[in-house]
């Protein structure tokens, strides 16, 4: 059992408990819409064209930069479009996607298999394989795994985050029950890649079957399985590290700087697929649950499958729905199920549409501060965010907020606090961007003024110099003329004299 705990956090009962979570294989989609916008790393550039036929597992896009992340085709078929499509982001902004029309054959590309056992490869080679498979953090963060491993080189502890603390999500739970061998193997691969000598798998104590499943298949005495008390936000990386090791990583610092690498258990399974089976990341397990679905279930679906397809298999009712990608606490509301599953889609909530509760004023009860796991003062952040006083909000450590939503959950006035903090952070980002732009405009304007002044001065100097040169020339010319005239006059005088002499 874990020895430490963190202040705050809340206990949320599982709203839609399932007897035994299992993974159903979703059928191949007819069309896959693959997102090019990566959560970290910018937009990937396609390396295929419209009309081209691609095979499953073929690289179809790469992010630019020194260590590109890959996007693979999740089905075989023909590229029918490379265009902007709506992405599950609260702004409703479209982003570039590649659309593949399936040919139904699921023909795999010829992927180069590594013929050596991973233990005989160097850590760099293993990390390279992870990078080529396009693996990112599957718990929802989406950070390129290879970059995280490289940063954590020489780590002493690997923590596998199998807490799945957000209530209702069960994809990691079922992964651990159905693929325990693969997960343990994946941990060994990861330990080899980052150099960690010790690994801890952290599971919340409401998942005893998953715990037993892993205990049964773990024969590696450097890997330990630890149970931690069930509490929401125990799965946040820094809070999990505090719970297991008692270390508080300061804000702005990374766990890698303290010799700790933390990875989600879904990412670990994907690493197993990539390094041992040479399969790139083309599918993931998604939980479909909510008050509007008859049977909450997990599906292993190909990336790019539309939400509507998997939701359909869960038998939703006929009422009006409210759809959310991600968990009920930290997810993103989306207006309709026409979006597609991407690498970080861990859950789709389909709830019956309910009227929103009335928002009242803040009565300063500080229930929010009592539950904040980052030990902040959400009421202060709320007042300053509401009056758009971002500087004051930053003084109260706005950037430490992990937007977990614990404060929303307990507020008696139903104030959407975490959304205010998202707003404040977005406003801060926008203001910094605008400040940078105006500073640049100011610089350019001032340089232009200077340039024009300088040109004017240079021209004036040039004119003055020309004038001076002209004057000198005129003076010289005048002299020469004078000389000429003098010579002529002298000659004339000589002629006259000689004439007079001759007469």
């Amino acid at each position: 059992m874990a020895n430490y705990t963190f202040k705050g956090g809340i206990h949320i009962p599982n709203p839609y408990p399932v007897e035994r979570p299992e993974i159903k294989q979703a059928p191949l989609p007819e069309q896959a819409v693959l997102l090019l916008q990566q959560r970290v790393g910018g937009e990937a550039k396609p390396c295929v064209e419209i009309g081209e036929r691609v095979l499953t597992g073929q690289i179809i896009a790469q992010t630019t930069g020194s260590l590109p992340t890959n996007v693979h085709a999740s089905i075989s078929g023909v590229i029918s479009a490379i265009e902007k499509r709506p992405i599950p982001h609260p702004s409703g902004i479209d982003a570039m996607c590649i659309v593949i029309d399936s040919d139904g054959k699921d023909e795999w590309a010829n992927i180069k298999r590594c013929d050596k056992d991973f233990l005989n490869c160097s850590a760099e080679e293993v990390t390279q394989q992870i990078r080529e498979a396009g693996i990112v953090g599957m718990g929802g963060a989406g950070f390129p795994t290879h970059a995280k491993i490289t940063n954590a080189e020489g780590a002493h502890t690997l923590i596998v985050n199998a807490t799945e603390c957000e209530p209702g999500i069960m994809c990691d739970d079922s992964l651990m029950q159905e693929y325990p061998r693969e997960i343990v193997r994946g941990i060994e691969v990861l330990m080899h890649a980052c150099g960690a000598k010790k690994a801890i798998i952290a599971i919340e104590d409401d998942k005893p079957e998953a715990l037993n499943s892993l205990l049964m298949y773990n024969f590696n005495d450097r890997i330990s399985v630890e149970q931690i008390p069930t509490k929401y936000t125990s799965g946040a990386e820094k809070l999990l590290i505090k719970t297991l090791l008692g270390v508080e990583i300061p804000p702005g610092a990374y766990a890698s700087e303290h010799g700790i690498l933390c990875q989600n258990v879904g990412t670990v399974k994907a690493i197993y697929d990539a390094v041992i089976d040479s399969k790139p990341l083309i599918s993931r397990v998604v939980t479909v649950t909510g008050s509007a679905v008859k049977s909450p279930r997990n599906y292993e679906a190909r990336l790019g499958t539309s939400f509507a397809t998997v939701v359909k298999y869960s038998e939703p009712n006929d009422q009006e729905h409210h759809i959310r990608m991600g968990g009920m606490m930290m997810g993103v509301d989306i207006p309709n199920p026409d979006y597609s599953i991407c690498k970080i889609t861990n859950c789709i909530f389909v709830n019956n549409k309910e009227s929103k509760p009335v928002v009242k004023e803040c009565i300063r009860c500080s229930s929010c501060a009592t539950v904040c796991p980052a030990n902040l003062l959400p009421q202060q952040l709320y007042w300053h965010a509401k009056s758009e006083n971002i500087k004051k909000a930053l003084d109260y450590h706005l950037m430490d907020c992990i937007e977990c939503g614990c404060c929303n959950y307990v507020c008696p006035s139903n104030i959407p606090l975490a959304e205010y903090f998202t707003f404040a952070k977005a406003l801060d980002r926008k203001l910094k961007f605008e400040e940078q732009k105006t500073d640049q405009s100011r610089e350019r304007f001032e340089f232009r003024e200077y340039r024009l002044e300088r040109n004017k001065k240079e021209r004036a100097e040039m004119m003055a110099a020309k004038k001076k040169a002209l004057k000198e020339k005129m003076a010289k010319d005048k002299e020469k003329n004078q000389e000429q005239e003098d010579k002529i006059a002298q000659a004339m005088a000589r002629v006259k004299k000689s004439k007079e002499d001759n007469a």
């Binding site: 929103k356 928002v359 959304e419 977005a426 980002r429 405009s441 304007f445 232009r448 003024e449």
Partner: protein, 180 residues
């Protein structure tokens, strides 16, 4: 009676000396007010305020020679921010100076450009690249949307492109949040 006069005079003297000392010891150098005003202005350098650039307008404001509502690119928020900084009543934007247009940049229609360089000379932030009888284009990143180039172009080949919020500059609506 005489004691209270003496006491209060002494207090006045002492407090006056303290204030005088503080005024000298903690004096702020330079005129930061102009810098503060300039940092609020949008740096579009368009001249719609009737001053040749944002800094001259800032200087005029600091001297009290201009009103706070002469800057359309700053919008009403800019005027309000100036009012707060200068501790005056906020005013509605003066429509005589132009209307606030949404954030935009300009671009050159290359089919029509004749390379006359009039736009290059007009741009207050040198956002054009080109030369005489050579194709001219706009560096969108540097363009402030001041529109000074549009009227000078003899073939009317400069158009505007509205800037949409990107994933990096999107800000949720505060009023929506307050409604819940």
């Amino acid at each position: 009676m005489i004691e209270s006069v003496v006491i209060f005079s002494a207090l006045t003297l002492i407090l006056g000396l303290i204030l005088g000392y503080a005024a000298i010891r903690f004096k702020v150098e330079g005129n930061p007010l102009v810098d503060q005003i300039d940092s609020i202005l949008p740096q579009t350098q368009c001249g719609q305020c009737d001053y040749p650039g944002c800094r001259p307008y800032a200087e005029a404001l600091a001297k009290g020679e201009a009103q706070i509502n002469q800057c359309p690119p700053g919008g009403q928020e800019g005027a309000d921010a100036l009012a707060e900084l200068l501790d005056v009543e906020t005013l509605e934007l003066n429509a005589e100076h132009g209307e606030t247009k949404p954030d935009h940049v300009v671009y050159v229609d290359e089919k029509l450009c004749i390379g006359c360089t009039l736009c290059i000379q007009a741009c207050p932030v040198d956002a054009f690249v080109g030369s005489s009888k050579v194709m001219t284009t706009v560096i969108a990143k540097e363009c402030t949307g001041c529109d000074l180039c549009i009227p000078v172009c003899p073939v009317d080949c400069i158009y505007t492109n509205e800037l949409k919020p990107t994933l990096g500059t999107y800000v949720p609506d505060l009023k929506e949040l307050a409604r819940g």
